[in-house]
């Protein structure tokens, strides 16, 4: 996010304006963090998908399932249900993160309206 003052006399910056600008900055930071988190969560989901597909194909009875740093020998059915559980958790997480992202985008749009309304060309709220 950038702020650029332009030449020419512009409206004075009040404390409320400053707080709006600060809030916009915070939301923008959180937006970037969210994008990263969403990407990681989606990748994790994909890995779990791949894992459960491999499970279906394998004919071994005991699967080495990673717990912590070691690979424990776990019966196939238990691995299947564990992976299903993990997929559920990750999907819910992705949903929650995307919802938060929607909220933040809406708030940022509101703030843009307010700040552009007051400062017009004197402020730049776009991504560099």
């Amino acid at each position: 996010m950038q702020q650029a003052g332009s030449s020419g006399s512009e409206a004075e910056v009040t404390w409320e304006d400053q707080q709006n600008i600060n809030k916009f900055g915070r939301l923008n930071n959180r937006l970037h963090e969210l994008d990263d988190e969403i990407k990681m969560a989606k990748e994790k989901n994909e890995s779990l998908e791949d894992a459960s597909n491999e499970l279906i194909l394998t004919d071994e009875e005991v699967v080495r399932f990673q717990i912590g740093e070691v690979f424990a020998h776990v019966p196939k059915e238990e691995v299947e249900s564990r992976i299903e559980e993990m997929k559920e958790v990750t999907s819910k997480n992705v949903e929650k993160l995307e919802e938060e992202k929607e909220l933040i985008l809406a708030q940022m749009a509101e703030l843009k309206k307010i700040l552009y309304g007051k400062f017009k060309d004197s402020i730049n709220l776009e991504e560099d």
Partner: protein, 186 residues
Amino acid sequence: MSTSASATERRGIPAAAFVEDVQTYLSQLNLDANSALAFLQERLQQYRVVEMKLLAQQRDVQAKIPDIEKCLDVVATLQAQKGTGEAVVADFEVSEGIYARARVEEAESVCLWLGANVMLEYSCEEATVLLQKNLENAKASLEVLIADLQFLRDQVTITQVTIARVYNWDVHQRRLRQTAASTSES
């Protein structure tokens, strides 16, 4: 909005003063525009340095949390197997690319690495309690760090806006002086 309006500093980080009016600000500081800009730029640099430090701390804590969760997982698995009478068989890494099989019967206790070359033996329940506490502490530290970073970023934003306003005010003043000079000549 948070209480950032009233906080004059936070954990040693000075808050950036909000400037109501540039003219008043400059006369209060008894500085001309250029010196004020230099001062503000320096403040900005200092803020950036602290930001780097906090970001590094945040990354460390964020890396610790999944590690603790993995440990909790392992202890929980060992505890679960205790009742069944079956041994836990696991493949673990002896060295890079080399794995060995381990057979853990009736895990009565686990050893936890406490750092500084110290490892202590705990019962499974005690280990879970300790790991849980460490996890909670790590999460609490993370929250404090995130709040600190937010405060810091706000101060950076305020300083950036102040720099822009002082600069614009200076440009405006120069224009006024130029117009005044050319009018008196004509």
